[in-house]
């Protein structure tokens, strides 16, 4: 038979019919079970008929809950980067910090901790001091954009908590950063 595909379809449909009957039997114990009938094998292909089309489902991400830490991380950006042995806020960091301050104005219950980080190309104690400068540079920028200083704590992790475990220019560049961590007040 050339209609093997169709034949299989029919068998499957038939089994569904059996299952439906069984379910019905279970659901209504007080009624006599229906006799199980099986569809006779068809020798002809069924009329192909398009199933009724359902309305299209469109999907779109609604994103993180506004005002959540996730919202801050994904939609604002929680980290800005620094040049070697520098705590100057770079031009590419300013839009992120502007967005951070706008977000923090929008959610005035949120308190943050700025964590200053340094790469491994420095000694431990100096890098703690350098990381503290970076944290304060971020803090000062946010305060300059109208965020109350009481909402912002700072700490330096020096070179102790590298974002990137690698060694090399790319890893060092990633590890020289100020991270704005939400500590309370987010949704």
């Amino acid at each position: 038979m050339v209609r093997s595909l169709n034949g299989r379809t029919i068998v499957r449909l038939a089994l569904v019919g059996v299952a439906a009957a069984s379910l019905a039997a279970c659901a209504k114990k007080d009624k006599p079970a229906f006799p199980v009938t099986q569809a006779p094998p068809q020798t002809q292909a069924p009329q192909t008929q398009m199933p009724p089309t359902q309305g299209p489902v469109s999907q779109a991400p609604v994103g993180a809950l506004p005002g959540s830490a996730q919202d801050f991380i994904v939609n604002v950006g929680d980290r800005v980067y620094f040049d070697t042995d520098s705590h100057d806020v770079r031009a590419d960091a300013q839009p992120i910090l502007d967005a951070q301050s706008a977000w923090l104005r929008q959610y005035p219950a949120v308190n943050v901790r700025i964590e200053g980080n340094a790469d491994e190309r420095g000694t431990r104690e100096y890098n703690l001091a350098l990381g503290a400068r970076r944290a304060n540079a971020v803090r000062d920028y946010l305060v300059g954009r109208g965020i109350e200083s009481a909402r912002i704590a700072t700490i330096s992790f020096g070179k102790e908590q590298p974002l990137d475990a690698g060694s090399g220019e790319d890893a060092w560049a990633r590890n020289r950063n100020g991270h704005t961590a939400i500590v309370s007040g987010a949704r």
Binding site: D85, R121, T123, E125, A129, A132, E160, Q161, S167
Partner: protein, 433 residues
């Protein structure tokens, strides 16, 4: 080389480090110094009498002397005279034949809860005794006895104090980079008896020994706070240096152990402070807007070396212990950090970063005679042996864990420490009592 010649050569090689020639060197003959190097003195350290513990003690002594780089313990298989004891005069001809210059003989007796070691040190060429001494302790303390013997031999043959009966506090590291668990740990200077002092629930760093007691100060970093602790290793008592407005770090004891110099960061500005431990009163030593960190006292307590970037890059400065008269002493290219004044007062050790490499180096307190002792991808944080002869530091390869290394003050004897694990921030103890 004869012992006297060895001592004289050693004194020359060390230059002014030992402040003149030791007394033994005055009659020295045949001085030979090659490129400032000292040829290690051939020394025989046969197994002490008294069974296994006698063999073990001799082994620890030989290993200590070998690691100092100043001695070359001879292969015991070459020894002709067997079963030497301190009770008899050695057959010097047998020891001359294998070119031993010095000979150590010992006998161990364990009676009840007492371990006793009779020790003699012989000058083979002159056929004379240099040490005749008895050491007593408890049997479980045999390693410390071996270190005391090593110090006695080292001191007699070099004219300098030893450094073997000491311990090292350091930060033992484990886990992947970026998620490293850091625990304070302590071990003997030869890597034996390592044990942890903290649990690893906070990031600990920069332990520093009190120069006068078995007490350390260190810094612990948590996600929202930094704390400096004092930790008495004998009593186990641990206390915070106190709460400060701002981040507190980089502590180090004064030479008398009565004060701690440390840094406080406030609003991004880091300055040096000094606390009197008895009264707990502290005062600010620096006020400039630069980073002032890593204070380290001169051994007479009159001055403090520190790192500052007040003039741009990180450099080393020296000021009075009251905070006045700061003067920059480092002058070469690159950055200079982690100044540590030597116990003899003659050098300041530092970490130098230049051209993508790190160095451990020493300079005089006025900044002259800078010498770089090491070069690597990342060397950091020197600490002095109490005799000012050897520096320990941590070394990292790209992507690798830090390891503890040592280098002598001439830069000639560079070697990894016998401790096999990952470690950083070593701090050498004073000589134990």
């Amino acid at each position: 080389m004869r012992i006297n010649a060895f001592i004289a050569a050693l004194a020359l090689a060390l230059g002014a480090l030992v402040g003149g020639l030791p007394a033994q060197a005055q009659e020295g003959v045949g001085v030979s110094v090659t490129r400032g190097d000292v040829q290690p003195l051939p020394i025989a350290v046969p197994a002490f009498g008294g069974g296994q513990v006698g063999a073990d003690i001799a082994q620890v002594v030989a290993a200590n002397l070998q690691r100092s780089g100043l001695f070359r313990p001879l292969d015991p298989a070459s020894f002709i005279e067997k079963d030497l004891t301190p009770a008899v005069q050695p057959r010097f001809a047998d020891w001359k034949q294998i070119n031993a210059q010095a000979l150590v003989s010992g006998m161990v007796r364990v009676e009840g809860n007492q371990l006793r070691v009779d020790l003699r040190l012989w000058d083979v060429q002159y056929e004379r005794q240099m040490i005749g001494q008895q050491f007593t302790s408890s049997p479980e303390n045999w390693r410390r006895v071996a270190h005391k013997i090593s110090d006695a031999v080292y001191e007699r043959l070099t004219g300098e104090k030893g450094y073997f009966d000491t311990r090292v506090v350091f930060v033992a590291e484990s886990g992947a980079r970026g998620k490293t668990i850091k625990r304070l740990a302590i071990m003997d200077q030869d890597g034996a008896n390592p044990s942890y002092l903290t649990s690893g629930d906070s990031i600990v760093m920069t332990p520093r020994f009190s120069p006068t007691s078995q007490e350390i100060t260190y810094m612990a970093l948590r996600p929202d706070s930094a704390t400096v602790y004092l930790y008495n290793l004998q009593s186990g008592r641990r206390e915070s240096l106190g709460a400060f407005q701002g981040m507190v770090f980089a502590p180090r004891f004064s030479p008398d152990g009565a004060k701690v110099v440390f840094s406080v960061e406030r609003g991004g500005n880091t300055d040096l402070y000094l606390m009197d431990l008895a009264s707990r009163s502290s005062r600010r030593l620096t006020t400039d807007p630069g980073i002032d960190v890593s204070g380290s006292f001169s051994p007479d307590g009159a001055r403090i070396a520190f790192t500052s970037d007040r003039a741009g890059s990180a450099q080393i400065y020296v000021m009075g212990a009251d905070g006045g008269g700061a003067r920059r002493i480092s002058g070469g290219g690159g950055s200079y950090t982690t100044p540590v004044w030597s116990p003899t007062g003659e050098f300041i050790a530092f970490t130098k970063q230049t051209g993508g490499e790190f160095h451990i180096g020493v300079m005089r307190p006025d900044g002259s005679d800078e010498r770089l002792l090491t070069t690597s991808y990342l060397d950091e944080g020197p600490t002095w042996a109490p005799n000012g002869r050897v520096l320990m530091f941590s070394r990292e390869t790209p992507g690798g864990p830090p390891k503890l290394w040592s280098v002598d003050v001439t830069g000639r004897i560079l070697q990894p420490m016998p401790y096999p694990g990952a470690g950083s921030d070593p701090a050498w103890s004073p000589l134990l009592n």
